[in-house]
């Protein structure tokens, strides 16, 4: 059981990392908006990379400008 003398302090270290991580998350505003980001990933900017048949498509124009 001597190994516990090593494992428990190691566990404490992990606990410290978890608390640090949580405080970091609170400080950087990860909990400010609990709804918006879930939708944000669904509406990405990748539509301009999807090829379209219509050359007049505004999205294509945007791509050319870039």
């Amino acid at each position: 059981m001597e190994i516990l003398y090593l494992l428990i302090p190691l566990g404490l270290l992990v606990l410290g990392v978890a608390i640090w991580g949580f405080i970091w998350a609170v400080k950087t505003g990860q909990f400010d908006d609990m709804e918006g980001p879930a939708y944000r990933i669904l509406m990405d900017d990748d539509d301009i990379r999807i090829p379209t048949r219509n050359p007049e498509n505004t999205a294509d124009k945007e791509l050319k400008e870039k």
Binding site: I8, L15, I19, F31, D32, M43, A59, K61
Partner: protein, 810 residues
């Protein structure tokens, strides 16, 4: 309505008028638009390459108002440094930052649209929208772009943005929330770790454990519990100290006593290697209590943010009349004695007296009466009320804190502070219990000290721990948190802790009429035409006469008229409270009440097919009657069922309204409400409620207007409608977000159930304490048994409370 297929506006979903020529090409297809506003917005969206907004949106957008050049002009005022001082901050790299309240956000796609559109502007460093609060933060480089350009860009895609001073409340809320989250996380993580070690220690007690290892684990538990007690539980200690300073024994006193003593005794046990440790109970208890308070805080903040929007009642800009001509200034710069010009449709910026012009003023803000009042020179007007008919020049008499609007807010603050609260009773009972406990513990400790000094300390500790009022103090908050959660899912937001407890005991339920039992806006119920005029044509004439008026009646006609309305009226003149008259193609028309058209129409036609209680509006030309319109305010869905369900529960239902007798009794008859009061001013409503309260009744008030706010604050428990004014919501204990009256019935039922659960919890906690008390006093309970007993009794209470959150259907 005819059976023809009606086209709907692709942007806002309103029917497209016939012959409309507003069209925008979206996804290679011509889409019809209802008005130039929607057309301009849709065009801006398509031109910006943001067509996918229309694919992603889950709600129909609000109808866009055509951008009036004057309003856009006004936006440039936000670039003035004097005005920016209040809401703009500048960082070291000369990047400016401001917070905006966004109006018109209905779904997540709106957030995406705004972010894409604004971030693409040159000079905008960052633009972030918070979907939960509908607030945006913008950072920009003032050398490349101005704030007014950003606001215009937002307006061009159909949203409205108001800058606001985020410094005050927003920052406070954010800090409060961040701190609560950190405390909660540390308590939670700590509790899990300590619990793990506690299981090992209990097992070790049973099967034997190496003394060195046991000692090591105790020290580790102490190490983890220390930040939980000194950081997470600090708020309990400070509020207990505050209570003690004013010589009161609040609920936080026993809580901090339990945490403090259990922690101190366990630390002592650890250092001296004797006795039992209770770090697991300490941390778990702290975590449960913090979780309940965190949820309560969330609901309170949501309501508080609504109050912040009240600031919008006062306009940000005013037109000051000076010798050199008119100039536009910020309202905050107005001084007493300044003269300001107020256009029709604008809010009056400050309290003052009319020095030029005559008009009618909508004072719904103060009286709840939606019919405008006529005012002329030398009469007083109040800041925040709306000028309706013609331009006025006003001499400012009061600004800032002196204004009536500011005093309403103060009245509200006071009413909230003085609110009678049943919740305080429970605290007082607990306080007696704590006082009794402390005396008992000292007596028992003294007795043991004289008879068996070695045992005295541990018996005192286990007595304190076993009778720790944890279960007692968790009994109410645990049940309330669970009930609040399930009500929120129904669309009933509870903003104050005592609301449910009080709601369960309510004996009288007082409803406001307009906006509460009814939908709060007039609608054309039916119409009758005379002579050979067509229905639509008579509506168009009425709309032409009412064009530019803010009167609620005018809105009905403006919505019903064809767009564009080819008819236009000249020499329009309005008589307040009576009607309007004007020339159309050289013919004099009149639109108004029976008295107003009496000169043309000697007697009311006998064949009137008048729906019950409808307001009649007559349209006449110089010779004869053309049409009669019947307007009515619709009842909300299931209003009757809800009122009857409340009566079946033994509640007395009241209808107290500012409207006239006929309107009130009509609604009361329909709903079967016997107790009514009509033509009530806010102070009359207050006295009705005060009378009831003096008779020992517990009153719930349901309302929606600014004028209801003081009454809402005075009632023991108050509920505002979700579509009501922000001020009403801020002063209410609960907000019926769904605006669905049956949910009110559910809330009352849920309140009753949760109070039952609270009683069960308190009974259990008391029985447990009464059983444990004599046993512990006699020294039969070892401290480890006390610890298990304390945790178990708290767990029973929490599990019992959780039954409330399971079933939403009652």
């Amino acid at each position: 309505m005819t059976g023809n297929h009606k086209e709907e506006c692709f942007h806002c979903g309103l029917p497209v008028p016939q012959n409309s020529s507003y069209r925008v090409k979206i996804d290679r297809k011509e889409r019809a638009m209802c008005c130039p506003g929607c057309e301009a917005v849709a065009k801006a969206i398509v031109d910006g390459g943001l067509t996918s907004f229309y694919h992603h949106r889950t709600e129909i957008s609000p109808t866009a108002r055509a951008a009036v050049p004057e309003i856009l002009q006004e936006l440039t005022l936000y670039d003035k440094p004097e005005l920016q001082r209040t809401f703009v901050s500048t960082d070291e790299k000369n990047i400016k930052q401001a917070s905006l309240i966004l109006e018109g956000i209905v779904c997540a796609a709106c957030v995406w649209l705004n972010e894409r559109h604004i971030s693409a502007l040159a000079g905008v460093v960052e633009f972030r929208v918070n979907y939960s609060t509908h607030r945006a933060r913008v950072r920009w480089d003032d050398t490349q772009i101005h704030l007014s350009d950003i606001l215009q860009a937002i307006a061009s895609i159909g949203y409205l943005a108001h800058p606001f001073d985020a410094g005050r409340q927003e920052a406070v809320y954010k800090k409060e929330r961040a701190n609560a989250l950190k405390r909660l996380a540390i308590a939670g993580l700590g509790a899990v770790q300590v619990m793990m070690l506690a299981v090992a220690l209990y097992a070790g007690d049973y099967s034997g454990m190496d003394a060195g290892l046991e000692n090591f684990m105790r020290w580790v538990s102490l190490f983890i519990a220390t930040p939980v007690v000194f950081y997470s539980a600090r708020s309990f200690f400070s509020s207990a100290w505050r209570d003690l300073k004013v010589h009161q024994l609040g609920m936080d006193v026993p809580v901090s006593l339990a945490i403090g003593l259990a922690y101190a005794a366990s630390s002592w046990a650890t250092v001296t290697r004797s006795g039992e440790i209770y770090f697991d109970s300490v941390t778990m208890f702290t975590f449960f209590l913090l979780a309940g308070r965190f949820l309560e805080m969330g609901a309170r903040q949501k309501a508080g943010q609504a109050a912040e929007e009240l600031v919008k009642l006062l306009p940000a800009m005013a037109t000051r009349v000076t010798d050199e001509g008119d100039e536009t200034v910020a309202v905050t710069e107005l001084m007493i004695g300044d003269k300001v010009r107020v256009k029709p449709g604008d809010s009056i910026p400050a309290d003052g007296v009319i020095v030029e012009g005559r008009s009618s003023i909508n004072e719904a803000l103060l009286t709840g009466e939606s019919h405008p009042l006529a005012k002329s020179i030398a009469e007083k007007v109040i800041g925040g009320t709306v000028n309706i008919e013609s331009p006025l020049v006003i001499e400012v008499q009061k600004v800032g804190e002196e204004t009536v609007l500011a005093s309403i807010q103060r009245l509200l603050d006071r009413a909230q502070v003085e609110k009678p609260s049943i919740a305080k009773m429970a605290d007082r009972v607990a306080a007696y219990f704590v006082g009794f406990l402390l005396i008992l513990v000292s007596v028992v400790a003294l007795w043991w000290w004289q008879h068996d000094p070695d045992q005295a300390f541990w018996i005192a500790i286990s007595l304190l721990v076993v009778t720790c009022p944890c279960a007692l103090s968790l009994a109410t908050p645990a049940a309330m948190t669970a009930a609040t959660g399930s009500l929120t899912r129904l669309g009933v937001l509870t903003t104050r802790g005592h609301a449910l407890e009080t709601l369960a005991k309510v004996t009288q339920i007082v409803f406001d009429k307009t906006g509460t039992l009814t939908k709060g806006h007039l609608a054309l119920e039916s119409m009758q035409v005379f002579s050979d005029i067509k229905e639509q044509q008579s509506l168009n004439i009425a709309a032409a006469l009412e064009l530019g008026s803010e009167h609620p009646v005018a809105k009905v006609f403006l919505q019903k008229a064809s767009i564009p309305n080819e008819i236009s009226a000249n020499e329009v003149e309005a008589v307040s409270g009576q009607g309007v008259t004007g020339l159309i193609d050289g013919v004099q028309y009149r639109l108004g009440c029976a008295a107003y058209v009496a000169s043309v129409l000697e007697e009311s036609p006998a064949t009137l097919d008048k729906p019950k209680n409808a307001t009649e509006i007559f349209l006449v030309n110089d010779k004869s009657l053309l049409a009669v319109f019947f307007l009515n305010d619709e009842l909300r869905e299931q209003a009757l069922e809800s009122v009857q369900a409340l009566k079946a529960m033994g509640k007395k239902v009241w209808l107290v309204s500012g409207d006239n007798e006929a309107a009130v009794s009509y609604i009361a008859n329909q709903l079967g409400i016997e107790n009514t009061r009509h033509s009530m001013k806010p102070e009359d409503k207050l006295s009705v409620i005060a009378d009831l309260q003096q008779q020992g009744e517990i009153v719930a008030m349901i309302g929606d207007g600014v004028n209801d706010a003081p009454v809402l604050a005075a009632a023991q428990v108050s509920i505002a409608m979700g579509g009501g004014t922000q001020l009403a919501q801020a002063s209410a204990d609960m907000v019926l977000l769904s605006e669905h009256l049956p949910h009110l019935v559910d809330a009352v039922k849920m309140a009753k159930r949760s109070v039952n659960i609270v009683h069960q919890n308190i009974a259990w906690a008391l029985v447990y304490n009464l059983l444990a008390l004599p046993l512990a006093s006699m020294g039969y309970i070892a401290p480890w048994m006390a610890a298990i007993g304390m945790s178990a009794s708290s767990l029973v209470v929490v599990l019992n409370a959780l039954r409330l959150s399971k079933s939403v259907d009652l």
